[in-house]
């Protein structure tokens, strides 16, 4: 048994040491592949619409579009307004090109669109290809955020009559956020024609905002009621203004019923905002806590159960994150069709790689230093420096790019005003998985039984035939492996670089010490507790002071209760 373990161990080491430089060499080309595979799917849908090949615009549209051929910002914005007034969806490809800076014009004001696919140049009006031109000879309208701000409702106004449901929905969404008075008639017509209930509602919300200063009392009341119903924070000041009095002491809003509806709306919005701020603090706290927990879980085993002060813990996280990076690039090179699922493979791989590093650390150095905490501290700190420098040597000092798979992009809206990025939701779920895994390992496997036995009474366990030294090795390996899992999670939300682990070492020890050394439930509570407390303090105190306050609170807590939140009962506690 013992020899098999050793052989396995050695074989793995050789493999890892051989594989690392090879993969590092392949990483550069892989990075490029990753960028290609990481393309935004929305862009593809728009590309269909954006092509001008084989279309010819009518003369009226062409004439108005020609106004876009200018380098002056004010003229350009006027031209966009004129295009908007035209309401001709045929203008869309040109507007997309303008927005994406693919629109050029020649000296005689002919608009030229650079194809987003193949980079070929075509005339915007005729769709004719112009191979005789080069972008460097052409002028380009200066597209800034202001221009794009003007373009957005214009494009939306053209798309509310689109055949594509999603495009119509997006357009209505934009108009609800940013309704333009001059589009009122178009929005009204679109709302009447609309079949999709959600889109219609968005269009009505847009109309309601325009109706707030309508002369017609019934329409104003209707508008106030709808706005109160959707409780949009952005419109609070509009509603609040309606409840007030002007300088002469007259009500701004003459009709009492509307005034009351507006006041009710303001109250509803305030209630929603207060709840949203509470909910968001709580959710962000859980999210921060789960990151802390994932970072600390490995240390909870190594330091919490074994008592090894492992200063290289952060570097185990870092190795886990780099394993994710290597896995990503290997997928990009070898199995691009599975690229978006590389994370699934990275989880076991990171566990194994860091566990092997852990075994090497334990067998090579730490086992000679048990019960000598000061030496352990110094030695593991030295190991951490060696690991950082090794990674720097293999992968360079710059951060490496770990892309999030598309199913991790974007965010989940939990309620209005509270959204959590999908990757952070993933991290919370992953934290649950890791806690469950560690619980299972410790409570339902033979290894776990032996670990607990050795921890509680080493000599007695040894007398009863538990191979204490080998258990030490495997415990350390599991702890390191769990740290590797933490590294996978971190790679999705923070920068992956050689020094990334340094940021987590203090936090990890804090979580384990606060949770109580020697048990695994403690870190769960302390990590979530630290996360939620920090996030509730942060809005009032700021990030810097919140961190300090939490540290101070932990120091006081440890003074009062040195054994942490959960005290270990039994003989081990007497040590």
């Amino acid at each position: 048994m013992r020899t098999t373990a050793w052989t396995l161990c050695r074989a793995l080491t050789v493999c890892v040491l051989l594989a690392l430089p090879l993969t590092a060499a392949a990483m550069d080309s892989a990075d490029e592949r990753v960028q290609e595979l990481d393309e935004n799917p929305e862009a593809a849908a728009e590309r269909e619409l954006a092509s001008v090949a084989g279309r010819e615009l009518d003369a009226g549209t062409a004439e108005v579009l020609a106004g876009l051929a200018t380098t002056d910002r004010a003229t350009l914005e006027q031209a966009i307004e004129q295009v908007a007034a035209l309401q001709d969806p045929e203008a869309l490809p040109t507007l997309f090109a303008l927005r994406d800076r693919r629109l050029y014009f020649t000296d005689d004001q002919t608009l030229i669109i650079e194809d987003s696919d193949d980079g070929s140049l075509r005339e915007a009006v005729t769709g004719r290809e112009r191979p005789d031109l080069e972008t460097s000879q052409l002028s380009q309208p200066r597209v800034t955020n202001t221009v794009r701000r003007a373009l957005r409702p214009t494009i939306a106004a053209l798309q509310i009559f689109s055949d594509d449901d999603a495009a119509r929905r997006a357009a209505a969404d934009e108009l609800a956020e940013n309704p333009q008075p001059e589009l009122r008639e178009a929005i009204k017509r679109a709302a009447e024609e609309e079949d999709d209930a959600a889109t219609e509602r968005l269009l009505n919300i847009a109309l309601a905002q325009l109706d707030l200063d309508s002369e017609d009392d019934a329409r104003r009341l209707e508008a106030v009621k709808l706005i109160a119903e959707v409780r949009a924070n952005r419109l609070r000041s509009d509603l609040a203004a309606m409840t007030g009095r002007d300088d002469d002491g007259n009500y701004v809003e003459p009709v009492a019923e509307i005034r009351e509806a507006a006041a009710a709306g303001v109250r509803a919005i305030d209630r929603r905002a207060a709840f949203a701020s509470f909910a968001s603090n709580f959710v962000y706290g859980l999210s921060m806590g789960s990151v802390l927990l994932l970072a600390a879980m490995g240390l909870a085993i190594v330091f919490g159960l074994m008592g090894v002060i492992n200063m290289a813990h952060g570097e185990l996280l870092m190795i886990g994150a780099y394993t994710t990076y290597v896995t990503q690039n290997l997928f990009a090179l070898l199995a691009p069709e599975w690229f978006h699922y590389y994370l699934v493979a990275a989880v076991p791989l990171a566990f194994v790689v860091t566990a092997v590093v852990g075994i090497l650390m334990e067998r090579g150095i730490i086992r000679f230093l048990y019960h000598r905490p000061l030496e352990t501290l110094l030695a593991t700190w030295g190991i951490s420096l060696i690991l950082i420098q090794t990674v720097r040597w293999l992968f360079g000092a710059q951060n490496v790019a770990v892309s999030s798979p598309p199913w991790f992009a974007g965010s989940v809206q939990l309620m209005q005003g509270v959204s959590l990025s999908t990757s952070r939701v993933g991290v919370i779920l992953f934290a649950v998985f890791v806690v469950a895994l560690v619980w299972y390992l410790m409570n339902r496997t033979r290894l776990g039984l032996e670990v607990r036995a050795v921890m509680q009474n080493r000599d007695m366990a040894a007398v009863l035939g538990v191979p204490a030294k080998r258990v030490d090795m495997w415990t350390f390996a599991v702890g390191a492996g769990v740290a590797g899992l933490g590294g996978v999670a971190l790679s999705q939300i923070v920068n992956v670089g050689p020094e990334m682990g340094q940021n987590y070492i203090v936090d990890s020890f804090m979580v384990v010490v606060l949770g109580g050394v020697g048990n695994l439930l403690g870190p769960v509570f302390s990590a979530l507790g630290i996360g939620v407390t920090t996030k509730f303090l942060e809005p009032a105190a700021g990030a810097v002071l919140a961190t300090i306050l939490v540290f101070a609170a932990i120091i006081l807590f440890i003074q009062w209760r040195p054994q942490g939140i959960f005290a270990l009962k039994g003989r081990a506690a007497d040590d």
Binding site: Y284, V291, Q398, N399, A401, G417, I493, N495, T547
Partner: protein, 447 residues
Amino acid sequence: MRTRTNTDNGGARFAWPGRLAGGAMALGLALTGTVQAQEEEPIKVGILHSLSGTMAISETSLRDVALMTIEHINEQGGLLGRELEPVVMDPGSDWPTYAEQAREMLEREDVAVIFGSWTSVSRQSVLPVLEELNGLMFYPVQYEGEESSRNIFYTGAAPNQQTLPAVDYLMSDQGGGAERFYLVGTDYVFPRTTNRIVRAYLNEHGIGDEDIEEVYTPFGHDDFQTIVNNIGDFAEGGPTAVINTVNGDANVAFYQELANQGIDPIDVPVLATSVGEEELRGMDTDPLTGHLAAWNYFMSLDTPENDKFKERWAEYVDENDLPGGDDRVTNDPMEATHIGIRMWAQAVMQAGTTDVDAVRQAVYGQCVDAPSGFEVCMDEENHHLHKPVIIGEIQPDGQFYPVWETDEVVRAEPWSKYVEESEDKIADWTYPWVCGNCEEAQHDLGF
């Protein structure tokens, strides 16, 4: 480490011919005219940038561009008929080491000038050494101002050459007409001072404290959820802009979170003062696209001077096989380093000597056609460079699309009139002031 000390001139000359012959042969017979001249002692030029530690990512390319510029000057025959010899040291991102190595450069290597330092704390650690030994340093990075040393020329931007014009832009129609400002930065001297100046400036322009929010994060902060959520809430109150002085790679987490929470640069532009081409390299730029940065130079500027600069840089990277290869970019501090060396070289030629006092006088008013396309000149009085201010929008390829620039170069105000303690302070190194930090003239001949 170099063992030859410079005090022994005879010995030095004796040691030279062998190496010179090799150099001359490499240069070819076309340069025989200059060989005679180069038999003089080379001029030593110190380069003091961290090549290891946390600052290595930023500072290494400054060393590279300095070596490139020096190599170019040597190809033209050097200065005063003497070759330039770079003395490169690596302070390892450790601030006291900057001072130690500056001392070693000045005392043992006898360098004529030092190009170096990045962070303010490293510059301030070198400053007393420079003043004690009357050395000369060119500092190439934008900083918070509130300083003017007789021994330092500042070729990076002071706050009124970077942040304040950017605030003007954000308040303008074109910039989105911001009426509310959210200032977010890392908790150290540059963001704190900059934001103090910005706040006073905004107050003067009719934006009250209720429309300004100022928050700081610890170093290496990676959880921007609360801050970004607050930015979203804050922006409900009217047109909002964010001024971002967050340092280093914490920016990745910040912009990622902005994208996640759907904060669109069209509605809430985030203007960064420390995100440049070098920082964007190796960053996923998708969430940053459309946000802004204010600098005095962008790699994407379309000027003949910049084309030449970039071409020379690409060649240099290629010939020396620098790590990063084709991906290497140019950025603002690199341009400032390049300008600094050229200015010093011109001043040496003008003064006819490398003597610090003579060169310092010659640097005043010295002008260079900068890669930014502007003729930038050293101020006659305050040791700071006149610079154009350019605002760029971040592009998916990690470059900036210039959307706005000043019509002409802006004079630096090292002592900001928006900071209470410094509003009356003067930096003027000409008679009768001759000081960088005083409220009245130091001299009076009584005529």
